[in-house]
């Protein structure tokens, strides 16, 4: 089985984001960037499939600026076999991303595409579902368990009410949730080895995808701040405040 894993370079999840003074977006200058945490889980799962000999090849794919190469190097250091970088500066919407991944799928013919369920920057939670729609493939979203079963994949999905099992025929799209696995750290030798692995460069134009945004960002603002609260000295005082000051109980 050939596995394609799209990965996104995003602001590191530990960084406190700051909105730009001109309200045009979030300040990304001199901010630590990392692989989207959900995508790390996707890479880890693909590598485990290879280690279990379910997968034969793992290809990492990223769409973004020159620096997205670093994100691909991380995926290669974790164990991906090779990488494809679609070079593009500026924002890409999930639909455009899904279209470009669909073109790469047409060239590479993977059996499964594993993605993070959402990116922690725009929190859109769309790309995997859109890709599945464009390709006419089965989709397993918010997945916390994957089992191969005679040419199909059985997935467990984390849904609002609990867990749900769905059987997917191949080829299929999977978007992963937090509890699927704990991604590994790349070892130093593997980081060195990853430097020699191939990253093929592509462009949206070559892929024939129009990336013109459908959405216009009018403004980006700080969320309303909560008034600072108080510390109470005892459980009695806490209950008193909740009952008499806040009227919450």
């Amino acid at each position: 089985m050939k596995v394609l894993v799209p990965v996104k370079r995003v602001i590191d999840y530990n960084v406190k984001v700051r909105v730009k003074a001109d309200r045009s977006g979030v300040d990304l200058a001199n901010v630590k960037m990392s692989m989207n945490p959900f995508d790390e889980i996707a890479v880890e799962e693909a590598i485990r499939m290879k280690e279990a000999e379910t997968a034969t090849e793992v290809i990492a794919l990223s769409l973004g600026p020159t620096q997205s190469q670093e994100t691909l190097r991380t995926a290669l250091a974790m164990g991906a076999d090779r990488a494809i970088h679609v070079v593009h500066d500026g924002d890409l919407e999930p639909l455009a991303v899904a279209k470009m991944i669909a073109r790469i799928v047409a060239e590479e013919s993977p059996d499964v595409v594993i993605l993070g369920k959402q990116a922690i920057d725009d929190d859109a939670n769309q790309t995997g579902q859109m890709l599945a729609g464009l390709l006419g493939w089965a989709q397993g979203t918010f997945v916390s368990k994957i089992e191969a079963a005679n040419g199909s994949l059985k997935v467990v999905r984390e849904v609002d009410g609990g867990l749900e099992s769905v059987m997917l025929t191949l080829p299929a799209i999977i978007t992963v949730d937090l509890r699927l696995n704990d991604p590994r750290y790349a070892s130093l030798p593997n980081i060195m080895k990853a430097r020699k692995k191939e990253i093929a460069k592509r462009t949206p134009e070559e892929l024939g995808v129009d990336v013109t945004p459908h959405l216009k960002v009018v403004s980006v603002e700080e969320p309303p701040r909560r008034k600072s609260g108080i510390k109470v000295g005892s459980v009695g005082e806490l209950v008193d405040k909740l009952q008499n000051d806040a009227g919450a109980i």
């Binding site: 999840y13 406190k16 979030v26 959900f38 919407e93 999930p94 639909l95 899904a98 959402q118 920057d121 725009d122 929190d123 939670n125 769309q126 579902q129 859109m130 729609g133 464009l134 006419g136 089965a138 989709q139 979203t141 918010f142 984390e158 849904v159 609002d160 009410g161 609990g162 867990l163 749900e164 769905v166 059987m167 997917l168 025929t169 949730d177 937090l178 945004p213 959405l215 216009k216 960002v217 009018v218 403004s219 980006v220 603002e221 700080e222 969320p223 008034k227 609260g229 510390k231 109470v232 005892s234 459980v235 009695g236 806490l238 209950v239 909740l242 009952q243 806040a246 919450a248 109980i249």
Partner: protein, 317 residues
């Protein structure tokens, strides 16, 4: 303008989340049609037809739609959508699963998880785990929107029922099949609609200790939630998780117990009306968003809290 709202349901009951989507749709303006897709879901359509502000209900009651698999529902939605200016769904796991697939089939860019309707084509949505709020304007001729249900009031019931029309032609795409569900099912109020939520974190130390929170929850009529750390540690099931990637809640009162308050957790509860917390680490970030913070060992404070509430005769509202 005409708006299609996708109903959230389990083939038996119309979920409250649908009402929030209807409220958001009313703010966009236009005649509202609710689509009930499922199997054996006539009672849901009946309930939807009595939702204030709804002009008509489409009932797609067919076997391939029973589990609301995205592969089978999205083509139906894409077939109906061209008669509407907007397609709206609650940002539940069902809505999140189906909507982007349908939008892509029509070459539309969905706007996810809106918290405010500025104009018919312009919406506010949280990005970066709610640490920034983006106002975005759609240029699509059919605007696909998912709605953060806690940001919009539920819809009221109407005295008169609007017409229910049957829609047929749903097919099994043959791509996926529903195998089964393990739903937690609780007697307590549902997390996203509860008036009071009491959540436990890593500080709870074990799943058994959540019984302490459940006792307090029973007194307050509260739902029980958890931080990611508590779910990852296996203390409670995944559907308890409150946060950026779990459930977003905005109750009248949110009580965080043994939760440090990572950005990802705050994203799921910081719009609560009143926030109280109990944590023994006074440096924990949760204190920065709490209206009332108590620095204490939860294993002393929670039983004391239960006793105090009982002594004052506090009842669920």
């Amino acid at each position: 303008m005409a708006i299609l709202v996708y109903a959230e349901h389990d083939n038996q009951e119309l979920a409250a989340a649908t009402g929030s989507a209807v409220t958001a749709a009313r703010e966009m303006g236009g005649d509202i049609t609710v689509l009930v897709a499922g199997s054996g879901c006539g009672a849901v359509a009946e309930a939807a037809s009595r939702t204030a502000g709804v002009a008509r209900v489409l009932l797609a009651d067919e076997a391939p739609l029973e589990a609301q698999l995205a592969e089978n529902v999205a083509p139906l939605m894409a077939r109906l959508a061209p008669d509407y200016s907007h397609v709206v769904a609650p940002a539940t796991t069902t809505g999140k699963n189906i909507m982007p697939r349908a939008a892509a089939l029509l070459d539309k860019q969905q706007v996810s998880d809106i918290t405010e309707v500025v104009a018919a084509d312009t919406f506010v949505r949280p990005i970066y785990a709610g640490n920034a709020m983006a106002t975005v304007q759609s240029t699509d001729d059919i605007v696909f929107v998912t709605v953060r249900t806690t940001a919009f009031d539920g819809a009221e019931e109407s005295d008169t029922a609007v017409p229910v029309e049957a829609v047929s032609g749903a097919a099994d795409a043959g791509l996926s099949s529903f195998e089964g569900a393990a739903l937690s099912g609780s007697e307590r109020p549902e997390l996203t609609t509860a008036r009071v939520v009491i959540s436990g974190g890593r500080g709870m130390k074990s799943g058994d200790n959540f019984a302490m929170l459940e006792e307090v929850a029973d007194i307050l009529g509260a739902a029980v939630g958890a931080s990611r750390a508590a779910v990852d540690a296996g203390y409670v099931p995944n559907d308890y998780q409150v946060g950026q990637t779990g459930k977003v809640v905005a109750p009248e009162l949110y009580l965080a117990v043994g939760i440090s308050g990572a950005i990802q957790h705050l994203a799921g509860m910081k719009d609560s009306k009143v926030i109280a917390c109990i944590n023994k680490d006074e440096e924990a970030p949760i204190f920065q968003v709490a209206d009332f913070g108590l620095v204490a060992d939860l294993f002393d404070a929670v039983p004391e809290l239960k006793a105090e509430l009982e002594q004052r005769g506090i009842q669920p509202r």
